[in-house]
Structure formats: C-alpha cells, structure tokens
C-alpha cells in the first residue's frame, strides 16, 4: 500500500466520520423535537421540508451565521479551546464503532476500553468551559458535571467489565459475535440497567441533567457560548447520545445480529430505538438533586455493580473460559 493510498483512506474516513457526526446530530435534534412533540400532543417542526426534517438544517445555518460573542472577562484561550475539546471525542468515538461485520472506520482490539476512555475527554472541555466563562452559573454547572461524570464512570466500567468477561474480548466485533445466539441483555440484565443509567448520567440528560439544569443554573457550563461554539457543544452532546445507544446495542442488544434484514439496518434500528427510549425518559421525568445523584451512585449503583460482577464471574467464567 503506497503512502498515497493511506492518505486517501485517512481523508475518506475523516470525511465520512465528520459527515456522519453532523448529520446524526441534526437528525437527533429533529427526532428529539418530534418525540417531545408527540409526547406533549404537539406537532413539532412542520414548516421546513417534509415533516420539518430540514428545520434543524436551517437552525444550524442560523447558528453558523451568528456572531460569536466572547465576553470581556473570560479566560480567552481556555474559552476558545473548550468547545473544541468538548467536540473532539465525538468523531473519535464514531470512528471506533463498527456498524456491521467489517463496516466501520476501524475495529480496534481494545475497542471497549477505547470508547470508555475517549468519551471522557469531553469532560475536560466542559470543565474548561465552566472555568473560563467567569460566570458563577457556568462554574457550578461544570463542577456538577465533573463530580457526576467521574462518579458514574465507576459502576459503568464495572458493568462493562461483566460483559467483557463473558465475551472474553475487548474487541467490539468479538463481543457482538459472542451474542449471536442470545443477546447479553437477557444474561446480564442488571449490568444492562446499570450501564444504561450511568451512560444517561454521563451524557448529562434528564433525569441527570444537573450540569445544564436550566431552571437552576440557566444553561450551566455553556451559558456564555454563542453561535458555532454553542453548536459544537450541541453536536458533542447528541453524538454522545448516539454513542451511548450504539454501545448499548453492541454490548447488550446483540449488535447487528438479527434475522432477515441487513446487519446495518438491524444495528441502526436498535441504536435509534435506544435513542428513542433515552428521549422518552427525558420527556417524562423531573431531575434529581446533586446530593441525591451522588447517593444513588455510591449507595445503589456501585454496590450493585460489584455484586453483579462477582456473581457473573462465578456463574459464567467457568463455562465460557
């Protein structure tokens, strides 16, 4: 393979990933608006394009055209860097997710570890945003985000570990292959619940949306951001939702395994179903308080995750390995 080929591949992969991230976010924003509308007996966007599908494109264009305001008293460089760092993991994560057997940018040997590790880079962006904004609400939002994400990381990893233990591999395609006969949601329901709750908390969505609790902290860490910088946070958030749904699909719902339909269709169906459930939750529940959030994590989820890991070690390790 010549150096030219490699370059071409990189450019192609890069373009594909960025396009997917953008389109997916635009679609998810539209979906969220429609889901909320359906739940609330409204109509949602209807004016631009069929079913208002192009509404989010119009919004994105508007955001692109907006002036990017940098408040006088912010920490200039950190403020500029924050949205970029928050957005950075989005393409990196998408790149590592296999959509079907052999379809995807790269199927790493340590895929599971990579996904969980990279997704936390966004946290740094959030902290930088909150710190540099020189706004008390932003700061409180960032503090909440950091505390919440770091704590929920632990039971989440333990839950994933139980799955990895059963599959015997960190490679995502191997994990999916191990589920050909029976998806892990049936074998590991507790791990599924723990992972699902934690990943909602990781992506800062209701009922765990404390970092951007609009009725308490106005908009949390992105209060001071405008235009495209704000859009980057938005893109990152929705990509994270997609990634969380994709991981749930890969780890627990059997990935692209399924009868009749094409694997890619199966994968997308499952993923967007999970996304729908996440949205459904958001439009149903109020949010927790910060101390209750912590209590729930340390007193309920963590012990449960440890017990689950121990039990699955005893039950499954002997048979599989």
């Amino acid at each position: 393979m010549s150096i030219f080929d490699i370059l071409l591949r990189i450019v192609l992969a890069f373009t594909a990933v960025i396009t997917f991230v953008t389109l997916n976010a635009l679609f998810l924003v539209w979906l969220e608006r429609k889901v909320s509308a359906v739940i609330q007996n409204r109509m949602g966007p209807t004016e631009v394009g069929p079913f208002g599908l192009l509404q989010t494109f119009a919004d994105a264009l508007k955001l692109l055209g907006k002036e990017m305001i940098t408040p006088k008293s912010v920490d200039q460089y950190v403020f500029l860097l924050a949205p970029i760092i928050a957005f950075l993991p989005a393409p990196l994560l998408i790149a590592a997710i296999p959509i079907a057997e052999g379809v995807g940018v790269s199927d790493l040997n340590v895929g599971a570890l990579y996904l969980l590790a990279i997704s936390n880079i966004a946290l740094l962006g959030i902290l930088m945003a909150g710190w540099s904004s020189n706004n008390k609400y932003s700061l409180l939002g960032a503090l909440r985000a950091v505390a919440q994400n770091i704590s929920y990381e632990i039971p989440m990893l333990l839950a994933v570990l139980a799955v990895v233990l059963m599959a015997g591999s960190l490679k995502l395609s191997e994990i999916v292959k191990a589920q050909e006969t029976i998806p892990y949601i049936l074998l590991q329901p507790v791990a599924f619940l723990i992972y699902f709750i934690c990943s909602i908390a990781e992506s800062n969505r209701t009922p765990f949306d404390l970092p951007e609790a609009e009725s308490e902290l106005v908009a949390g860490y992105h209060t001071e951001f405008t235009g495209m910088r704000f859009a980057l946070f938005f893109l990152a958030e929705y990509t994270q939702v997609f990634v969380l749904a994709a991981i749930v699909t890969l780890f627990f719902l059997g990935g692209w395994n399924g009868p009749l339909l094409h694997p890619i269709v199966w994968f997308m169906l499952k993923t967007y179903l999970v996304v729908f459930v996440v949205m459904w939750l958001r439009w149903t529940y109020p949010r927790l308080r910060s101390d209750q959030l912590m209590n729930f994590n340390w007193r309920v989820l963590l012990p449960l995750a440890i017990v689950n890991l121990l039990v699955s070690t005893v039950l499954f390790r002997g048979t599989v390995g």
């Binding site: 609790a213 109020p286 910060s290 209750q292």
Partner: protein, 551 residues
C-alpha cells in the same frame, strides 16, 4: 327593602364582642379600645396604641396565636398612621392596632422582635411613607430602588424622576451583611455570592435573590423585589372606584377573577349593595375555574422548575380550555374585569353549563393522570419530601395563607371561615390540609384543592337559576366615609383589601394585602442549609406571583 333588617340583625347578634380580649389589650397599654361591627367594616376590634405600648400589645396577640395579616400605612395629613391587622384562627376576631407618629419625626418601634413577619411590611411602609422603624434589622426600601429619596404614597408626593446615582454598586454592602447574617446558623463560611434573578428561569417573574453559597449549600439569601412595581395603590388614589376595576385584573396574572371578586366584595361591604343570587353562583363558578387554572399553571411550572417539561404542556392544554370559557363568558381571557359590585358584568352564553360540565368530567380524568405522572413519581418525592419545612408557628407568625398555610397543618380557608359567600356553606366540599409543612405537603394540598374545586364547580352549576346578574347600582358610585376591610380566598391565599374612604368617588387610601407577599417572606427563613436546587423547589412550592407582590 323589607327583608334587610331581618337579614342583618341575626348576624349582628351572633357576632361576639370580645370583652376579655379588649380588657387584656387595655391592660397592655392600648388606649381607645372599641369593638367594630364586622358586617360593616370587616374588623372586630379597634385599638389605638402608643409607640411605647405597641410591642407589649402585639405580644398579647402573639400569645393568642394571632397572625399578622398586614400593615397599612396611611398619610392622615399631617400625621402618619400605621395600622396593624391581626387575625386569630378560624372563627376568631380580627384586630386593628393603630399607631400614630407625626410628620417630622416619623418614627415607630419595630415589631420584628415580636412578629418576624413584620419585616417586609415595615420596609414597605418605610418605602412608601418614610416612617422609620427603630431597631429594624434591615431597614432598606423593599419595592423602590435602594437609592430613591422620595416616598410615593405620601399625599404631598406628585411624582419625581428616578435618578440613578453614579456610585451605585451592584451588591450593596448591607445586603451582603444581611445574607451573611442569615447564614450564621449553618456554621459555614464563604465569600461566594450568587445572584439568582431578576432574569432567571425559575424565579417566576422578576425576583432577585442574593444567595450566599458554599459550594452547593446555601448559607443565606435575601430577596429583592420591586422590579415590576407599578404603584397600583397610588393609582387607586387617583381613580374612581369604577375605574379601578381593570387594575384589579392586573395584580395577579393567573387569577384575575379572584381579585375582581375581592374588590367587588370590598365595595359591597362598604356600600351595602348586594349581588343577585345568579351572580353569586356565577362568581363561585368563575372563581373556582380560575383557581383550577391557576393551580394548573402552578403544577406545570413547578414541574418545569424541577426539570420535567412535559407536565407543563399538559397543564397548559387544560388551562387553555378554561381560558376559552373565560373569553366566551367575560370577553377577555386574562384581563377579565368581570365581577363588579352588585353582581357580574354580563350574563353567560347559552352552552356555558354544558361546556363546563364536560370540561370538569375530563378534568377528573386528567387529575388522576397528573397524580400518576407527577405526585407519585419517585424523583418528585425525592425533590419535595422534607424540603423547605414551614412549621405552623412560622406560618402564623409570618401571616402565610392559602395552600401554604394548609400544607403546614393550619386548617384555615377564608371561603369557609369568612362569611363572604353563602354558597360555599351550602355546597358540599372540604378544606384539604396536610401536616408536613414541606414542599410535598403544599403540592398535595393544591392537588386536593383542584379536586375540590372541580366538585364545587359541578355542584354550583346545578344551582344556576335564571335571574338578573347585576343588582341596581347607583350611577355615580360613592362609598360612605369610613374604613373597611374585606377578605377573600384566592388561589394563593388571602386577598385582603383595606379601604379608607372619604365619602367621594375616589378612595383616600386603598391597600391590597396580597398572599404571595407573606408567603415569599418565609423563603429567607427556609433557605439556610439547603441546596441551590432546593431554592428552586421551595420557591415553586410557594407558588408566588411577583407582580402581585410588587403591585
């Protein structure tokens, strides 16, 4: 009218004079103690106090579990007078204390040591009349900007420009001190101050709370009001009684009808005009609908404060149906100007009863749904249970009223305990109350009230009989000279109107006692030790309407 003497006399007999109370007030130093005719003035006991005896007399009332209803400042020209209105529980008397001070010195002792709830009321009087209250812990203007030098409700005030001085600081030192002082009980220290509002999503209007926080824990907080101060009380002194009607709509944007009724009842008490039977039924129906609409908005916005957006839309959908009925019956959705002295302004349309009974049927189903979606929800319970507890003692001391009072286990509802509408006695309903005193109890009281209001409306519809909707009212509307007080129960609590009339077409002084004022005042006591998220929860559960407080 031949029926009138018979109708009045039993009331006059029934109404007790309170010799024991009068005697005790006299002993404590009150002069000129006399009893008043409740049916004519709305008050039972009237006592003049000297500045020296004010606190002693108030202590007597405090021991008798009187709650401080309001303070009314009056410019008697030349001297100032401050009226203190106290109300005992349920059947008990309403006492008016009068304290005079001359124009030059304009000082009175503070009542805050006896009644904590006098705090804001005294600040308002200080604002409006320039009466100094000696030893008041935080005597700063409440509704006006802190740098103003004039006192608008003085009779010799005819307008002045507001000049913002160059050296105005964002957070005056006094506020910082006050917020810090409130936080001393928590034993923590911090230099972090957070301005919540005036533009904040969950302060329900333009309220600013200066929070003193350590991390997420609140050490203390101080409310700042007056961002939507319109000077309604001063306006009232320039308008005829008839002309003042549209202003009553604009006190509280969620329940204008209840304010219409309050004002109409004041004029009816003062002039002896009586409304017609059909009008009474219509008033009950409309006001209960208004209460339902108001509580629905509370439910929606409270859940919005707690982070759930969907119930808000559901509640507004239901409220929309009620507002449509208002529009068809009164001509406007929110600024109804419907209930006037002597009845209501116009009769309702033909399908009125039918539409409402259908709506009420749907409403019952919806209430069950809200109960499932909201009140039973575990996260909702976590956010409200044992949060922001108002003890019954605190509630009485601060003059808390309405669902907030009943959530604290005090069973008082003006609809039942003040004889302002016979119909409420005839209909079958009960006053819901809870003993917890926390946000959850207040919420549950409101949910139960929604159900009771549906009950009331359904029963009242059956009582709707043909007849005139407005009795004869003189063309030139005058109120005989005197002082009158009237109380009605709004969705948020007691709406009281204090009128000093001089016999002309224009009020000499009109004071509105708004429920949110007293309810919000407790927030400063509830905040220390809670978290930032709890402030939102507490504020929402008090269901305050800031324009009502600011007037």
């Amino acid at each position: 009218m031949p029926l009138e003497p018979e109708a009045v006399e039993p009331v006059a007999e029934q109404k007790a004079v309170y010799p024991e109370l009068i005697e005790r007030l006299r002993k404590a130093g009150a002069t000129e103690v006399s009893s008043l005719d409740y049916s004519k003035s709305g008050m039972d006991v009237d006592a003049q106090v000297t500045p020296q005896s004010l606190c002693a007399v108030a202590s007597i009332l405090k021991h008798g579990h009187f709650s401080l209803e309001t303070l009314v400042g009056v410019d008697r020209q030349p001297e100032f007078e401050v009226l203190y209105l106290f109300k005992a529980d349920n059947e008990g008397p309403r006492v008016k204390l009068r304290a005079k001070t001359d124009r030059e010195t304009a000082t009175l002792p503070t009542l805050t040591n006896v009644y904590g709830g006098a705090d804001w009321y005294e600040r308002e009087v200080f604002d409006m009349f320039g009466v100094n209250f000696i030893d008041h812990p935080h005597l700063r203007p409440l509704l006006l900007p802190h740098f103003t030098k004039f006192h608008p409700l003085r009779k010799d005030f005819h307008g002045a420009p507001i000049v913002i001085p160059e050296d105005t600081v964002e957070i005056p030192e006094l506020d910082v001190q006050a917020a810090t002082k409130l936080g001393q009980s928590t034993g923590l220290r911090s230099d972090f101050f957070l301005n919540m509002g005036p533009q904040h999503p969950s302060t329900h209007g333009v309220l600013r709370i200066l929070l003193h926080v350590e991390g997420e824990t609140i050490l203390g907080g101080r409310c700042h009001l007056g961002y939507s101060h319109r000077g309604t009380e001063k306006l009232a002194e320039k308008k005829q009684y008839v002309q003042f009607l549209p202003y009553t709509d604009r006190m509280d944007y969620l329940s204008p009808l209840n304010y219409n009724w309050g004002f109409a009842r004041l004029l009816e008490t003062a002039t002896g005009i009586e409304s017609t039977p059909r009008a009474e039924v219509l008033r009950v129906i409309m006001c209960e609908l208004s209460r339902i609409a108001s509580h629905l908005v509370w439910l929606g916005t409270y859940l919005l404060d707690l982070g759930a957006i969907t119930p808000f839309l559901y509640c507004f959908e239901d409220r929309e149906r009620i507002l449509t009925i208002f529009e068809r019956a009164t001509g406007q959705r929110m600024t109804t100007s419907y209930i006037v002295a002597g009845g209501v302004r116009n009769d309702v349309y033909s399908t009125f009863s039918l539409e409402i009974s259908e709506l009420m049927r749907d409403m019952r189903k919806r209430l069950v749904e809200y109960d499932k979606l909201v009140i039973g929800n575990e996260i909702f319970l976590m956010r409200t249970d044992k949060v922001g507890i108002i003890s019954p003692e605190l509630a009485i001391e601060y003059g808390v009223s309405g669902p907030c009072l009943r959530g604290s286990g005090v069973d008082y509802d003006a609809r039942r305990d003040e004889p302002y509408c016979e119909l409420y006695k005839e209909l079958e309903w009960k006053v819901p109350f809870e003993t917890g005193g926390d946000c959850l109890s207040r919420s549950r009281v409101r949910m139960a009230e929604l159900e009771q209001s549906v009950n009331l409306v359904e029963q009242a519809l059956l009582k709707l009989e043909d007849g005139p909707v407005r009795s004869k009212v003189p063309k030139i509307f005058k109120v005989p000279a005197g002082e009158y007080y009237s109380v009605t129960e709004g969705p948020r609590g007691i709406i009281g109107w204090y009128l000093i009339a001089d016999g002309s077409q224009i009020p000499y002084r009109l004071k509105v006692r708004v429920p949110s004022f007293a309810n919000l005042q407790t927030v400063e006591q509830l905040m220390p030790g809670t978290r930032v998220a709890d402030v939102v929860s507490i504020l929402g559960s008090l269901d305050v309407i800031i324009p009502e407080i600011d007037r």
